[in-house]
Symmetry: C2
Subunit: 662 residues, 2 copies
């Protein structure tokens, strides 16, 4: 093993808490850490999963082929592992155990939607009989989930693909009537999947029954050739997700058996009778679940970004503020701490709030099972604004981590550009940022109206019914949380008033809504800040009471930094809607800088505790041993352009140019 | 020619001003428009510059080879054009005439640094004799500029490469003593350039004279094989700049003639006598110039981003707020206008302020020629903070434009990811964001101290000497500009006080500086906002008085939007440092939304007036005819993966997997 960089050794010696203890907290318990490490060891020792030439040098096509190769090996491993450890992978909920796949495929696996959307949809929306048949099918189905169309995204009711029931043959006829009705985006759809869940408008005897899910075979099991009437292919390169194999899909009157409509909820009988689902809210569940998962996912990706940028900042030296003295580690510049430590805090915040939201979700789902849907709208509103704010903040944090690494952060070998591609996609997919913020805003408007009418409110919006803007300001975490509540209540009221004034002015509700929409998104974002700050702080206090004193004090610093960072970011709102004064703001700025200094000696320890193995981190700048410059050069030397002293293009193009008589 | 999308036709009919008139304003005069269009027509009709397979499908190596091929053709064209039109390309200053190269190379040309740094450095730092010899050399030199090293960026004094004078042979010996001393990053260095300006520590008789520039031949003219002692290669793929051919370079005691030190300023005589430059500030010029150019460059790239996103928003329809009515164009959503119109305004702001800064620069350079260096520190401070703020804001605007295009903005074929790669790089190169902000902060601290001593201040910082925070708030453009001055003065004072308090507390100056540095960057950013708002508004007023009434009113709306957007963004600062009250802020929010509504009918006209040809825009989403969905599909069909019904990887990997007995 290579020598570890001296600066990192010193940093690790400085750490005031037990890193292992924090690793267990982050994994959710020692047994989870053990299992994660076990899977990592097994996967990362499989032959044939390492690339001689890094993926990014390959052509788009070669890169796809290489990722299918590795994804197939990984797939076999996980099925096999599950057989041998039947209890192991059964646990649901956010976990880092599958993140080991980043150690195999640098970007995104072409099987991502098979596991992430196809299987969950079959579990949640197919009948027991369908599940039995499809999940155990030999040969195996590789599936994806096709909802979005070329011309239709967020507005699901506007989808154009039709599934028309033909009672004579007991079949649905799937059709893409226009170019804009082509399915567009599903991962793995292009060249990988042989099956697809297709969302289409159900027509029976000329009557439209709205969007329903259908299982459609798109490629032959033996030859993989697209079945008759199926037009399928890939949509081309993207900002990230290069190996996700996103595809398009069109139907020219493709017939599928009646049994292929997923019929756990609604059904179509032989004669064409439509049997309605008990509730149209039942399909909400999966959508909410995916959004809840996004919090934990971006928390993990942010942990990777912070690990890279903090370790690099400890290794990198720059400038000479004092003549004759050595160049300081850049992590000692306060401006650098300002860029990086919030990334550590934010990762913790999103993980902690993500777990809380997961618990809330499982409770609500359990209630629904008992027929009680009272908490579903609140959960939906929570999952919308948190998905929006966490994805956006995470993308911003990753970019700030990258920029904090200077030019080297711009190298693919730093991995930060790939991370950004992965994280920024979450701002758009599974509910576009602004659209989902406005969904939460609807809930806030409704709740605020109830508050005005003196009706009781659900717990997470109860503060809307309280008078908060006459409270004395307190420069404490609790005071800050109250401040965020006053801001969210103030912005909710402001948006409500604008909405009302437009309606009184004679606008139709939806026009008034549009005119108020910028301020409605502000209210929704402010609500998310309340939840993030309050839940992160409360959960951190709870966790801190269960760990050693040294760790507890670090965790509380990390959480307080998050609160103070955000109250400073939002000081305009605080000055508008609370009784904070200029001097309070200046004292908070001072406290913020104190917290940076307190966290400084533990910064490397904190990112070590994210416990991301080098193979999964994939960064020349962030490896555990800090051999930054050696790795940058080693990676560069893998370039095929560096394998020959002169590129052929010299003889073809450059030589004639430089010898020409111009 | 294909039919233009109906929505775009309607939008263009709505436009209230003469688009041609605005095109001339943007180009800086009708004759510039004519010349630009002429060059575009010539370049875009050259055979062999169009790719059958889009660049992004190629392997990294193929992509380089293809870009060298096209860059060589382009090079010949421009030399030839210049001969035929000797006056045409002589004009200096920001211009869009060379942007046509984006119509040839999608990303960045491997010759970028030949034109952008090599030639300008030779012009500014080589003697007349050297220029004569090098610029007319046959065979031709293809050059680049090697300053940054693997372990050293911003801190130029820390560079490790040495150039040791040997009086016996009248040569300099170039050496790279460590891995961290390898040159790293120069564009074109890897496989393209045969010469290089190398920045190295000059040693004569064991004494170090600091950093000096040397011309070094790195590859043979005939064979292109690296010369003895030269280790050169490419650094690998990056977030963007994929075809820039960035390279590394190491020297193993490479000897070059004494005449190869660029000696317009300093010289080394035969016997090793060092002749010092008249002023060490003379090399400032080029660095400042490059930063000034960045403003105009990002203004142009932002114009491209706004064009794509605004046209797409006019073509795209989504949701159905009112039952039974068609889905609205997404540009009619106020949240969408909020995302996009600021990009239009910001492009105008940066172009206008960029031109003003260019004039300032040429005046200062003229003064320096007369021996007057009084204005250089002010110019340097201006160029630093404006470079930082404009590059950062532009990157943010481009990303918001991309996200405003939903999933399709994430496609490379939208071009927005490539634009982001180009623009975000400017935040780091030619002076990292935080580092250059802190350079301006030094000037602000010095100026503020002078103000306290009652000394006169330079024009752009004169406001630091005025008492601004007791002024009555006015909700007018002039009032807003005064507000920004009060904020910048307030933040400068706050940073100064923190700095002082640490020094009084016993800290050394540079430690105090570090402790105050977060607030110092805030002061610097605030200063940039003053300049941007004031100069944009004043210049817009001046220009408006020279154009038709209709256009004038639109230009003033665009500029006012910029001011109101930023006062709202910075309302926290305004509430801290001015007498603005909550009601003023709410009225400004209202005014902001009024301005969005005023600009709405002209939005497509405004981006049409950026006059970026489809070939240069390179976007499926932004083309003039609005055939968004057709183009997305046409581009996708160019994927090599779509050229065959079944990819070979099925037989190798997927088939065994789906038929396995797992």
């Amino acid at each position: 093993m290579a020598k570890v960089n001296d600066d990192l050794v010193k940093e690790r010696n400085k750490c005031t808490f037990d890193i292992k203890e924090l690793i267990h907290v982050i994994d959710g318990g020692e047994e989870y850490t053990r299992e994660r490490k076990n899977v990592e060891n097994l996967v990362l020792s499989i032959d044939g999963l390492k690339d001689d030439v890094p993926e990014e040098y390959l052509s788009h096509k070669e890169r796809y082929e290489n990722s299918v190769r590795k994804a197939s090996i990984l797939y076999k491993f996980f099925i096999d592992y599950q057989k041998k450890n039947p209890k192991s992978l059964e646990r649901t909920g956010p976990s880092h155990i599958f993140k080991v796949q980043h150690g195999v495929i640098k970007d995104i696996s072409p099987f991502m939607l098979h596991f992430g959307m196809f299987l969950p949809t079959v579990y949640s929306q197919a009948s027991a009989e369908q599940q039995e048949q499809w999940l155990n099918h030999k040969p195996m189905m590789i599936g994806t989930y096709a909802q979005t169309e070329l011309g239709h995204g967020t507005f699901i009711r506007g989808l154009e693909t039709t599934a028309t029931y033909d009672p004579l043959t007991e079949e649905f006829v799937l059709n893409s009537p226009t170019l804009t009705s082509y399915k567009w985006w599903p991962g793995g759809l292009a060249q990988t999947a042989n099956h697809c869940i297709v969302l289409a408008q159900l027509y029976i005897k000329d009557k439209c029954y709205g969007i329903h899910p259908f299982l459609v075979q798109i490629r032959d099991f033996e030859t993989h050739i697209p079945l008759p009437g199926i037009k399928v292919g890939e949509i081309g390169p993207k900002q990230g997700f290069q190996t996700a194999n996103n595809g398009f899909l069109g139907f020219d009157k493709v017939r599928i058996p009646r049994q292929n409509m997923l019929n756990k909820n609604s059904q179509v009988l032989k004669d064409g009778t439509y049997v309605k689902a008990k509730s149209d809210k039942l399909t909400y569940g999966t959508m909410v679940m995916v959004r809840v998962y996004i919090l934990s996912d971006v928390a993990y990706e942010l942990a990777r970004a912070a690990t890279i940028a903090v370790r690099y900042a400890a290794v990198r030296h720059q400038s000479q503020p004092k003549p004759g003295q050595p160049e300081p580690q850049i992590i000692d510049y306060v401006t650098q701490q300002h860029k990086l430590f919030i990334a550590i805090s934010t990762s913790h915040a999103f993980r902690v709030v993500g777990r809380w939201l997961w618990k809330t979700y499982t409770n609500v789902i359990a209630d629904i099972g008992k027929g009680n849907m009272d908490s579903l709208p609140e959960l939906h509103a929570l999952s919308c604004c948190l998905k929006a704010v966490c994805s956006y903040d995470a993308a911003r944090c990753v970019e700030h981590c990258r920029m904090a690494c200077g030019g080297h952060g711009y190298m693919i070998s730093s991995y930060l550009p790939i991370l950004y591609g992965i994280v920024t996609a979450t701002v758009t997919y599974e509910g576009e940022y602004t659209v989902v913020l406005l969904q939460t805003a609807r809930y806030l408007m409704k709740s605020y109206k109830q508050a005005l009418q003196g009706k009781p409110l659900m717990p997470t919006v109860a503060y809307l019914g309280q008078i908060l803007n006459n409270q004395k300001w307190e420069n404490t975490p609790e005071g800050v949380i109250d401040g965020f509540k006053a801001v969210a209540a103030g912005k909710t009221k402001a948006a409500f008033d604008v909405l009302e004034s437009h309606i009184i002015g004679g606008k139709e509700f939806e026009d008034a809504w549009n005119l108020a929409s910028v301020q409605l998104t502000y209210a929704s974002e402010a609500h998310a800040r309340v939840v993030l700050c309050e839940m992160f702080w409360k959960e951190t206090q709870r966790i801190s009471s269960t760990v050693s004193r040294n760790l507890a004090s670090v965790l509380l610093q990390v959480a307080e930094l998050y609160l103070v960072f955000w109250v400073l970011e939002k000081r305009g709102d605080m000055l508008m809607y609370t009784n904070i004064c200029k001097e309070d703001v200046m004292r908070l700025q001072q406290r913020y800088e104190e917290l940076l200094a307190l966290i400084r000696p533990n910064a490397v320890g904190l990112v070590d505790a994210f416990d991301v193995r080098d193979e999964i981190l994939r960064s020349t700048l962030g490896a555990y041993d800090g051999r930054v410059y050696e790795r940058l050069m080693e990676e560069a030397m893998k370039s095929p352009l560096n394998k020959e002293p002169v590129n052929q293009s010299f003889h073809q193009y450059l030589k004639p140019l430089i010898h020409s008589r111009l």
